[in-house]
């Protein structure tokens, strides 16, 4: 029952924070300092996180919580602190591990960028914020870090701010997630209002909602859960707030791997898991979570089929996989959601970093312009292949086990969602096959001098590939380690999965086979669909016209309103301000006009002023 490392867990975010501050102060002095500080600090965080996790593996380990007074206004006291539970321990390891690998990878990927130190300082700030979010022991601290990761995401998506697309994407990412954040804030306020003692820490929130004890009215509970979920929808790119995530691919690829695949976008899932007691107390909220998740899973998977940008395909795949996680949570399985989060973090980071390696070599992101890279980039091809198999849900790769678990639950709980999940899995396998075959097989196109990336980039790929293979074995139908550990044995989800396993594996293989038929063998013509139903392809290419819909329904009217208000500001308010400023200038000019450098004028002014003063002030007394 030793909690030595858990007590020191607050140190974990401080490593990257220190790196950030040092980079802020000395970042300009050397190009290598960023690589060094970023990697060392995240490695230190990883080691400590691992120790915390191992400590928590011992049976019967308790959660450790510590908080200090943060704001004390007399009647209102806010505390800030950290809490180490099994869930947070797991998240700590995921975040620090991916962060460390991305830091190492960036040393190669960002080598030529002149702002590499700035890049590393942002990454360090992000890692700090993300770890703070994970460790937060109450909703308010969580919210602070929640916004901080949003800011870091904004900074990093717009890192190449000289590109207009990057600027636009950064803005879009920030604004769209802010919509979700507003929901979360309202949820927190509602929670604050109704919680006994206005407590916001997770322990007491858990106590208040556990088992629907009725401390808080059912309708209020539903609203709180929905509002919190809206925050998660924004951060985790769920429909209808998913639009920012594909655009966020304008950021450097390591960032896509770290923030927009493995960690920040998973924060929404983590948030729901962290406040799972609230959701469990409201069946309505749970259903909403499940259906939104399921819909997002299939919706994004179909879009992924028609995209040509390697990173955007992966981005839609991320949206789709996050949908699976939400679906699992909505089906009352925290284990399923977190398990998929865990495996997905590794194989999706692997895929993004692999994509980065490809982009690094061929300087394009369009998969139609690539081909035959497999022979030139063996390590990248092999590791990317492993990632693709894991994502497609092919046994025994990690993605299979976690996806299978979710499908298994859906099969028992809500068969409709099971069907959706299976179809989405088919599309997933299909677009991954398309991606892999177009990029690595076939004849080379365009760039002919592609070559393998440096060891600093392939190293992390190999590590992640190993993890993508083995990470799934923590929880299999025959082995309930993760579920037992994560939920203290509350969730027992075993057995009866034989049929689902077969279906799941078969659908994945079918998707891959179809992809092989179309893109390698050419048995089925590539324009098989586009020639018969061009509207369907167009619909998918345009991503169901969601962006256009928002543009027409929300952005334009808001712009018009903004324009109107701006007009009022420009002409009415500014007019008044300008008039005031103009008056000041006018008085000044009047004064300056008399300042003609002629001393006799000055004397005259003095005389006149004296006369006027006497006339105005004194003479009235003699009337």
């Amino acid at each position: 029952m030793d909690t030595t490392f858990s007590q020191a867990a607050w140190l974990i975010p401080l490593f990257p924070l220190a790196a950030f501050l040092l980079l802020l102060a000395f970042g300009r002095s050397s190009r290598m300092i960023g690589v060094l500080l970023g990697s060392v600090s995240s490695l230190a965080g990883f080691v400590l996180s691992l120790l915390v996790l191992i400590e928590h593996m011992t049976k019967g380990q308790h959660d450790y919580q510590y908080a200090v007074k943060w704001i004390d206004t007399g009647s209102i006291v806010f505390k800030a602190g950290f809490e180490v539970t099994n869930l947070t321990a797991l998240m700590l390891v995921v975040v620090t591990a991916v962060s460390f690998l991305v830091n190492v990878y960036s040393a190669g990927y960002m080598k030529g960028d002149e702002r590499i130190s700035v890049f590393y300082s942002y990454v360090a700030l992000f890692t700090f914020s993300m770890l703070g979010l994970v460790l937060a022991d109450n909703m308010l601290t969580l919210y602070v870090f929640w916004e901080l990761v949003g800011v870091c995401s904004f900074l990093l998506v717009g890192f190449w701010f000289s590109k207009p697309e990057a600027r636009a994407a950064a803005k879009k990412a920030f604004i769209v997630t802010r919509i979700g954040d507003a929901g979360l804030l309202l949820g927190i306020l509602l929670l604050y209002w109704y919680m006994p003692d206005h407590a916001l820490d997770f322990v007491r929130i858990g106590n208040a909602f556990e088992g629907g004890t009725g401390v808080i009215a059912a309708s209020v509970t539903t609203w709180i859960a929905i509002l919190i979920f809206i925050g998660a929808v924004g951060k985790s790119g769920q429909f209808p707030l998913h639009v920012w995530l594909p655009d966020a691919m304008e950021g450097p690829t390591p960032i896509s791997a770290l923030i927009h695949a493995a960690t920040m976008v998973a924060a929404g899932v983590y948030l729901v898991a962290r406040t799972f007691d609230i959701f469990q107390a409201s069946q309505t909220a749970m259903d909403i979570v499940a259906y939104i998740g399921g819909f997002t899973a299939i919706f994004a998977a179909t879009i992924g089929v028609a995209q040509n940008d390697i990173k955007r395909i992966l981005a839609y795949s991320t949206v789709s996989q996050l949908g699976y996680m939400m679906m699992a949570l909505g089906l009352n399985s925290m284990t399923g959601g977190i398990f998929h989060l865990f495996t997905h973090a590794f194989f999706k980071a692997l895929l993004f970093l692999g994509a980065g390696s490809v982009i690094h070599a061929v300087h394009t992101q369009n998969i139609q312009e690539m081909g035959g890279l497999g022979s030139k980039m063996k390590i990248t091809a092999w590791t990317f292949g492993i990632g693709a198999l894991a994502l497609s849900g092919i046994p025994p790769f990690s993605g299979f086990w976690s996806k299978d678990m979710i499908l298994n639950i859906a099969y028992h709980e809500k068969p409709a969602l099971f069907v959706i999940g299976v179809v989405a899995a088919f599309f997933t396998a299909f677009y991954m096959a398309r991606l892999f075959f177009l990029v690595f097989m076939g004849k080379p196109k365009g760039e002919r001098h592609a070559h393998e990336s440096p060891p600093s980039m392939t190293g992390p790929l190999i590590v992640l590939a190993v993890l993508a293979v083995v990470a799934g074995f923590v929880q299999t139908p025959w082995n309930d380690t993760l579920g037992n550990w994560l939920t203290d044995g509350a969730e027992q989800e075993n057995g009866g999965g034989g049929l689902v396993m077969v279906i799941s594996a078969a659908i994945g293989l079918l998707g891959l086979y179809m992809g092989w038929l179309v893109f390698v063998k050419g048995m089925i013509s590539r324009d098989f669909v586009s020639s018969r139903a061009p509207w369907l392809v167009r619909l998918l290419e345009r991503k169901y016209y969601i962006d256009e819909l928002y543009e027409a329904a929300i952005v334009r009217p808001l712009r018009a309103l903004g324009g109107l208000l701006n007009g009022i500001d420009d002409y009415v308010v500014d007019g008044l301000v300008r008039a005031a400023g103009g008056a000041a200038f006018l008085i000044g000019r009047g004064g300056t006009r008399m300042q003609n450098g002629q001393v006799q004028t000055y004397g005259l002014i003095t005389a006149f002023a004296l006369v006027i003063l006497i006339a105005a002030v004194a003479l009235r007394r003699f009337w």
């Binding site: 000044g588 008399m594 004397g603 007394r621």
Partner: protein
């Protein structure tokens, strides 16, 4: 009162009280002679500084003695209430004058220190004279602060004026400097004429030159000569208004400040202005209250005129500065606006809850001293290395000399009246005074003028953060660096602990003892 007391001669014991002034004169004479033999003129500067500091030491010593003395009525009337009165109240050493003398001496010492690093031989050929002429000038200012008699007061005024005429024109080879000196002489002449004219009327009514005696005389005769009293006060105020550069009597200041060497500009802005304020305080507080008569509230009108001048100075100073790009002219106009702020506590008079006008004035003068001398030193340093006289010289200062830029930001914040600086509390205390005496309109004028002034103070700050076009390195001489940092540190210190400073002034200062010259 009998003529014997009026013409009481200077005794040896009285002379001892005048040690600070004697020291300045002695140093001046010795330096004038030494200057002929000394090969290195910088030494003159250091000796001048030594003279100033010695004098300062005596003033402080006297002040601590004053603080320790128990009020008692001396037989010869020399030590009533701890105030030392020499030559039948012609010369008074009280808290008011001692505090002002400290301010003048500290300011002049800082100015000498700043000159040591920034004055170039090519610019000022007679550097020896430049330094030792500051001594009689500050001596004149001290006499003005201590005078209780119109004659000594006028002598102090002219001592200060004439030496500063020379100082303004000391850049002999610069047309600008010569022109400025000429304008200053003419304007100074107008000012002296106005003051003397007003004083002669007061003498005509009461037959006395001693302010206390005039006050007594007015009690009896004010009712007979209301019109003449108006003329007397208004002429005196106009004359002194020129000296403090309050609008609309300020037009000389921009031309003169620009033409004068920067240290002299600082001297005019702080010491000259402060001494004139001391005289206004003395005259108005001693005489105005006795000059009202039924139907002719002269006192109220005098205070009203002071407030009008204050408002005009604040508004004209800050609006004219909006389009001013020459730094020294800018500071001249900023000085006009600041003269307005300092006139406010004076013009509020003593009524209602408001009796701390002198404390507010002295606190603001101290803050004004620090920020003006500090900012002008930064300007002098920059002007020396870039030869640029307009605000463009500050462009990119943050990148060329970040620490100097930081100090400059402190001065600008203080001038703009933002925390945490002395200027903020200086303005705040004055504003609180206006609220206490319920003169809200002048408070509104203060606020408006402050807001307008942000435009050019922040314009300077903005310049410092712009990318520099000229990459000339800014070299800060050690002595200038000391001045900049002393001023910046003291400005911030006044901004952090303003309470004790103001409390100390207010607790030791009593209107009755210090300003009013009673004929006991």
């Amino acid at each position: 009162m009998d003529a014997a007391q009026q013409l009481q001669s200077l005794t040896w014991s009285d002379a001892a009280y005048l040690a600070p002034e004697w020291i300045l004169i002695a140093f001046m004479i010795v330096l004038a002679v030494l200057d002929l033999f000394l090969p290195r003129r910088a030494l003159t500067g250091w000796l001048t500084l030594a003279g100033l500091l010695t004098s300062l030491g005596f003033v402080i010593w006297r002040l601590t003695e004053l603080a320790g003395a128990t009020p008692q009525a001396g037989a010869d009337g020399q030590a009533v209430s701890g105030v030392i009165r020499i030559m039948a109240d012609s010369y008074r050493i009280d808290y008011f004058s001692s505090l002002l003398k400290i301010i003048f001496l500290v300011a002049t010492a800082l100015i000498v220190l700043m000159s040591l690093g920034t004055v170039r031989k090519a610019d000022i050929p007679d550097r020896g004279e430049f330094y030792y002429l500051l001594l009689p000038a500050v001596c004149g200012a001290m006499i003005m602060a201590s005078s209780g008699d119109m004659i000594t007061l006028y002598i102090g005024l002219e001592l200060l004026s004439i030496t500063t005429y020379v100082l303004v024109g000391i850049r002999k080879h610069s047309v600008q400097s010569t022109e400025a000196a000429f304008k200053y002489v003419v304007t100074g002449g107008i000012s002296s004429a106005l003051i003397l004219f007003g004083m002669s009327y007061l003498y005509g009514i009461t037959g006395a030159t001693n302010l206390g005696a005039i006050g007594e005389g007015l009690k009896a005769h004010a009712i007979d000569f209301p019109a003449i009293l108006y003329v007397a006060f208004f002429f005196i105020l106009a004359g002194l208004g020129i000296k403090i550069a309050a609008a609309p009597f300020h037009y000389w200041s921009t031309d003169v400040y620009q033409g004068a060497p920067t240290p002299v500009t600082a001297f005019l802005a702080v010491v000259s202005k402060g001494a004139a304020f001391a005289v206004i305080f003395r005259i108005v507080y001693n005489l105005a209250f006795y000059s009202s008569s039924p139907g002719k509230p002269v006192a109220d009108d005098v205070f009203l005129v002071l407030l009008i001048l204050a408002a005009a100075a604040m508004l004209v100073g800050s609006t004219m500065a909006l389009r001013q790009y020459n730094v020294k002219r800018l500071f001249a106009l900023s000085g006009v606006a600041n003269a307005g702020y300092m006139l406010v506590p004076l013009g509020l008079s003593i009524k209602g809850m408001h009796a701390s006008g002198v404390g507010e004035f002295i606190f603001y003068l101290a803050a004004y001293l620090l920020m003006t001398i500090g900012a002008l030193t930064v300007y002098a340093v920059i002007a020396k290395s870039t030869s640029q006289e307009d605000v463009g010289g500050f462009a990119g200062l943050y990148y060329r000399a970040p620490w100097t830029a930081a100090a400059m930001i402190v001065f600008m914040l203080s001038l703009a009246g933002l925390p945490v600086t002395g200027g903020f509390f200086g303005k705040l205390f004055i504003l609180l005074g206006t609220v206490q005496s319920k003169d809200y309109w002048i408070a509104a004028v203060m606020v408006v003028s402050s807001v307008i002034s942000y435009y050019f103070y922040f314009g300077l700050i903005r310049q410092m953060f712009m990318r520099s076009t000229n990459e000339a390195d800014v070299e800060v001489p050690a002595t200038s660096g000391i001045v900049i940092w002393l001023c910046a540190a003291a400005t911030v210190a006044l901004g952090i602990v303003p309470g004790p400073a103001l409390d100390w002034i207010n607790s030791h200062f009593s209107l009755v003892n210090d300003l009013f010259i009673s004929m006991g």
